[in-house]
């Protein structure tokens, strides 16, 4: 699904990713953990195609295509979804109209007709139940006046609506209380299937109690320094990140 080779990227002339390798197979859930400033969010931004981030070296293959060759909207249309750490408010644009525009842009890209009003509403009903998103949140302007938890639930709602091939969750657990964390995780787990992969970026192990990953990687200073199973996350929780920063014995 995703093959990252020797990825180097910088922001404002400052190198942040320094030779990152990662391979995610279809249906797998990978977690990336790491201390603040290790490059976790940069990785998410680079993969999503944010313009301020400059790739200086390396390659990213996404389901057989050169990801770095596509602009941000094409990456989305090809099935890459980013759940934002800080979802953006768009005043005056209703959440549903926004979703409809997104769905139809993606359908058009795949040579499909625009979704009918009936199908769209049915889809909204089905997917909003997944994250317990109340009607009042669906109908309001995009993220405007939403609490932190509501914004994150809205991200997962959008992910469910768009049914991506690869979903990147950028610190989706930050700022969530335990109920919101449960709801968000349920939404993600309900979407786990053979053809869909997840890259879960998080600072804390607690999210991984709910979304159990197949692989856990530790990012430090722009590189993956350690990979393992879910147990690695437990170990990190116990010992802290300093343990990993020390040279391997």
């Amino acid at each position: 699904m995703l093959t990252i080779k020797n990825l180097h990227a910088q922001v404002d002339q400052t190198a942040i990713l320094k030779g990152l390798d990662l391979e995610i197979a279809p249906g797998e859930v990978h977690a990336i953990m790491g201390p603040n400033g290790s490059g976790k969010s940069t990785l998410a931004s680079v993969l999503a195609g944010r313009e301020d981030y400059e790739v200086t070296q390396g390659s990213v293959d996404f389901d057989g295509s050169d990801l770095l060759d596509m602009d941000a909207s094409d990456r989305a249309r090809e099935g890459l979804f980013l759940a934002f750490q800080y979802p953006v408010e768009i005043p005056g644009v209703s959440n549903l109209n926004f979703m409809k525009a997104a769905i139809n842009a993606q359908r058009e890209h795949r040579g499909m007709e625009a979704i009918s009003a009936k199908d769209f509403l049915a889809l909204v009903k089905e997917k909003s139940a997944l994250v317990e998103l109340a009607g009042r949140l669906r109908d309001r302007s995009v993220n405007e006046g939403f609490s932190g938890g509501e914004k994150k639930r809205n991200e997962i709602f959008q992910m469910a609506m768009l049914e991506p091939k690869l979903a990147i969750l950028d610190e989706t657990d930050s700022g969530l209380d335990i109920d919101a964390l449960r709801i968000v995780s349920q939404g993600v787990n309900a979407m786990r299937e053979a053809g869909r992969s997840f890259l879960v970026i998080t600072h804390y192990q607690r999210l991984l109690d709910h979304i159990v990953p197949d692989h856990v990687h530790v990012l430090s200073d722009g590189k993956i320094v350690k990979s393992g199973t879910k147990d690695l996350a437990m170990e990190l929780e116990e010992k802290g990140y300093d343990w990993i920063k020390e040279p391997a014995v």
Partner: protein, 483 residues
């Protein structure tokens, strides 16, 4: 969901880069010689078979205008029009009486169809009566009979002068007097046509009344005169839409609109203005110098809603004189400027009566190297006890080279009045655009969504048919404008 569908359709449609309505219609035109003098005014008046009081009124306006100078105070810079290089009268030659749409000149009908406002369609789909004005003479009016049953008069100004001279004489110039301003005085001297509307006591006009103005003849100015009188306890919603063909020379437009809302009446006046703004270098485009004002009597309400996307230079302040106690004035505006466009627009709310209330919501959007100014006056006179005003002026900047300016004037001569003013300026967010891109929405559509969202408060005030057109115009006006 209907609205959502329509929105989507519009967004899909928005592809053409050039000014869509830049075509001209070949119709023989009856045109007055270039220049302005008393003889020209007499010619206009006699061509229109006007009563002598109107000719005298025009001549007085001309005398007044000669002693006036063009205002220098707007935040605008442009080459002053040469008023002696303009032809002040042009009328399509086919002038026989029209009893049905079939009799309308086929060329004209084609034009209307290109504008997407064919009368048949209007009749069939939307129940809108259209008084279509092309180069100053109305050529077709629909729904007249239906309106007549209710005693509503909706016709061209020329016809009103002939058929309802008492009403015209009573109200013409009563809201915008001849000496009010330079362009208003010029209009009073040389106006050739426009619309007239009268709603009788207690009548609620059952449909949106709509007039489409269109400047067509190369080199002719357009001086429309609109007079709308809502008698006691009546209601009317009036739509004015404007498009003009593409021209290299600047075209002058100096219209006057007067609204009279008698006791307990309500007038809702909506405008979508899409005149040719000139090209990216600022060549060509319409000069739009318009005087719009309404007078509100006891407990009456006047509401102006405007979406301004066109014209090279706009000078326009739809205003309310809140004369009657408990009268209400509203102004909702979206003004978009792109490339080299300049707009100086806003409103005046003059509070004379007790407990008068006014609301001003202005949304400016500046792109390219354009200059967009809000200029507003809220004036509370000594007798206006407990008058209230709320003003909100927001500016959205699309580039680093454009300008947004706010000139709010507040004059309060009554200590019980309450006046609130809020203003914000923001730049279109790269984060917002990226968020849209990440969902698969392309940049043009993202901008359209964000801008329409920003202007929603105003767009929501427009009647449905207009709201759709307005959204489309916002998107077209701002194509490729983020920098």
């Amino acid at each position: 969901m209907k609205m959502a569908n329509e929105e989507d359709k519009i967004l899909e449609e928005v592809t053409g880069k050039a000014y869509e309505f830049g075509f001209t219609t070949d119709i023989d035109s009856d045109k007055a010689p270039v220049g302005l003098n008393e003889d020209i005014i007499r010619l206009i008046s006699s061509k229109k078979n006007e009563p002598s009081w109107l000719l005298d009124w025009r001549l007085k306006a001309y005398e007044t205008w000669k002693g006036m100078t063009e205002p220098e105070w707007p935040h605008l810079s442009y080459a002053k029009p040469d008023f002696q290089a303009i032809s002040y009268y042009a009328a399509p030659k086919a002038k026989k009486e029209l009893t049905s749409m079939d009799e309308v000149d086929p060329e004209l009908r084609k034009t209307m169809e290109k504008l997407g406002i064919s009368l048949e369609e209007q009749k069939r789909l939307s129940g809108v009566a259209v008084d279509f004005v092309m180069d100053s003479v109305s050529v077709a009016t629909s729904f007249k009979d239906k309106l007549a049953e209710l005693g509503i008069i909706f016709c061209s100004m020329s016809e009103a002068v002939q058929e309802h001279p008492d009403l015209v004489q009573k109200y013409l110039g009563s809201v915008v007097p001849v000496r009010d301003n330079f362009y208003g005085a010029l209009n009073s001297a040389v106006f050739t046509d426009g619309s007239f509307c009268y709603i009788p006591k207690g009548v609620r006009c059952p449909m949106e009344l709509s007039t489409y103005f269109r400047i067509n003849e190369a080199g002719t100015g357009q001086f429309e005169r609109t007079l709308l009188v809502a008698d006691e306890a009546s209601y009317v919603s009036y739509l004015e839409g404007c498009t003009a063909p593409q021209r290299d020379e600047n075209q002058l437009h100096a219209a006057v609109v007067e609204l009279v809302a008698l006791d307990d009446a309500e007038i809702k006046y909506s405008t979508v203005q899409n005149w040719y703004p000139g090209d990216a270098e600022g060549k060509g485009g319409v000069f739009n110098f318009v005087t719009k004002r309404g007078i509100a009597h006891e407990r009456s309400k006047i509401s102006w809603t405007q979406v301004e996307t066109g014209s090279a230079v706009t000078w326009k302040y739809p205003s309310c004189i809140l004369k009657g106690n408990d009268s209400v004035g509203e102004f909702y505006s979206v003004a978009v400027t792109n490339n080299m466009q300049q707009a100086d627009t806003g409103t005046k709310m003059i509070h004379l009566g007790k407990r008068t209330r006014s609301t001003i919501i202005s949304k400016g959007i500046s792109a390219g190297k354009s200059q967009n100014s809000y200029r507003g006056l809220v004036q509370i006179m000594p007798n206006a006890d407990k008058a209230r005003n709320f003003s909100q002026c927001d500016s959205l900047l699309m580039t680093d080279q454009c300008g947004a300016h706010t000139f709010p004037y507040i004059e309060t001569k009554n200590p019980t009045a309450k006046v609130e003013h809020e203003a914000t300026t923001s730049k279109i967010g790269e984060d917002q655009i990226f968020y849209c891109l990440q969902r698969g929405i392309d940049e043009e559509q993202a901008i359209s969504l964000i801008v329409n969202g920003y202007a929603k408060e105003v767009l929501n005030k427009l009647p449905m048919e207009f709201a759709v057109e307005a959204q489309k115009l916002l998107a077209i006006s701002l194509e490729g404008s983020v920098g």
